[in-house]
Symmetry: C2
Subunit: 342 residues, 2 copies
Amino acid sequence: MSNKEVTIHDIAEILGINSSTVSRALNNSTRVAKKTKDKVFEKAAELGYQRNHLASNLRKSKTFTLGVIVPRISRHFFSSAIAGIEETAFKAGYTVIICQSLESLEREESIINTLLSNRVDGVLVSISMETKNYDHLQGLKQRNIPFVFFDRHCDIANNSKVVIDDFEAAFNAVEHLIAQKSKNIAHFSGPQNLEIYKNRFKGYKAALEKHHILYREELVISSSLMEKDGATNVKKMLALPYKVDGLFCANDVVAISAIQYLKKLHIKIPEDIAIVGFSNESISSVIEPALTTVNQSGLEIGVASTNLLLDKISDKSKQQTHKTILVKTNLIVRKSSLRDSK
Amino acid sequence: MSNKEVTIHDIAEILGINSSTVSRALNNSTRVAKKTKDKVFEKAAELGYQRNHLASNLRKSKTFTLGVIVPRISRHFFSSAIAGIEETAFKAGYTVIICQSLESLEREESIINTLLSNRVDGVLVSISMETKNYDHLQGLKQRNIPFVFFDRHCDIANNSKVVIDDFEAAFNAVEHLIAQKSKNIAHFSGPQNLEIYKNRFKGYKAALEKHHILYREELVISSSLMEKDGATNVKKMLALPYKVDGLFCANDVVAISAIQYLKKLHIKIPEDIAIVGFSNESISSVIEPALTTVNQSGLEIGVASTNLLLDKISDKSKQQTHKTILVKTNLIVRKSSLRDSK
DNA sequence: CTGTTAGCGCTTTCAA
DNA sequence: TTGAAAGCGCTAACAG
């Protein structure tokens, strides 16, 4: 019932030494005798001492806490990114506060306030689709709290980010469709305030150009890439006065829901229409063998962005250097996603 | 560059009052004049004051932090549970430390230590498959830190948990197969140290009994229900000297990988074999229309278990009462998962 | 190598 | 209704 936690003072008193010596010992300072250190560790273990991080952090005015903002935890890409973040942070002695913006700018702002009052040492953020105004992020900057974007970023000045090479990935994806003899290639595109969707669009366009295929505006169908958009987009696509035989989707959610809808209409994939989309290998192979995917590893991006952030945190004194890490991707092509070319 | 955070002392000094008055005002104490309160709030807003939770929590020896232990963040069930937990905790002013055991007992133990030294106010835990020894959980109990199990639990005395009604769910699932004229119904089962898999097994058995179908031990194939187990289990099942025409899977991962493998062998679902498995509706409808699913809502369980935990935290003074919340499920049957009964 | 001392920012008695 | 003062548990100067 009596639940006093053991403190360094308790240990000090029992051992007849000063609490600061205990503190030093526990922190493995070189300025303490091996013998004392041993005694301290032994006693600490015996009493079941656990450092009180609150007190320690208050003193050091450092929280060893990172904030993470994602649109939605349950999206597979983000949950695997979080797994990578958590893993990397944990190893470095950091804990992580995870928040979801649910694609709302308002929530994103309120989250940043919460993170500020939790005195996080740094922030990882993948911005919401709604975010077109970046004042709240400037707030972080003013308070000198390092942050890095991962995946979804925006083009405010001087920031660090970890993103996949969207332009190249999209370019390769569309070339893959062209190699499969697609002539009229549609693109289910996302909000153009997000750099990633902008770049995916640019890659799409560039691939068409390279192969002297006419770019047609009406083939680019924009949406917020949710599950509901699959069917809607497909309808728009089928309403075009010519036959679309290739489709490049800017994310997995819309790709999969589009495929479901196409199947319902008995449109054959990839015979009638070949499809390539961004996705996580692990999930897409299970979900939809007919989908060629740009392999998008959340885990890898999570790890890389956390490492970058931790670097920035320990580098705070120096002039901040801003880095962009481009994660390269590759296409996962399954047999079932290939047209018979006989 | 100078980054002194604003403190209550700063506000006090400017206003020519004492910092404890500021503290009381900011905490909306009744024992402070309305006029002073207004002045304080105004000044606080003006200076961009943000309460330092570290200091506040140290003083109150409360962290407003919950620990969450799940086997793997990126599993959809858990990521949606986390979404629910995060949401509920956030609203109540709590933050959440999320840790993954990766199905390892050793990691689970070390996580508990980390959570202890972070002085979490409570813990939500879904135990790993490897966990057969509960000493580390007893440690929480000794320190008087409330915890509740969600989904995966074990039968140590006096604990609270939020779980779906596994027995009933399994029973209904198997009855559904029987209604579809399955005679030889296999069960891909999980580790029997976990109550949920035990209960799912019991439900399976009970449904067979009710319908006077002989229970055969060899139809129950146990594994750790990973992706790799799908194919292995199917092979074992096909090696039986009679034809299996129904399959009840204890989780979605194994169900989906089994389905993929069956398809590869050109075995038809549900014509040759009808399948039902536990899963999340949202994902399974997209993934595998041939799968009838026991709808398992992570979000709902996350919310319920967090509420229960928060109750326990504020009730700490009273005798702890231990509660089991049973979340009811329903079957999601899609047309494509039904045998033609003509 | 060890002890003394001060204080991180806040809350909370106890007095006034 | 407000102020003074103590202290949560730890770390970091500084002195010895």
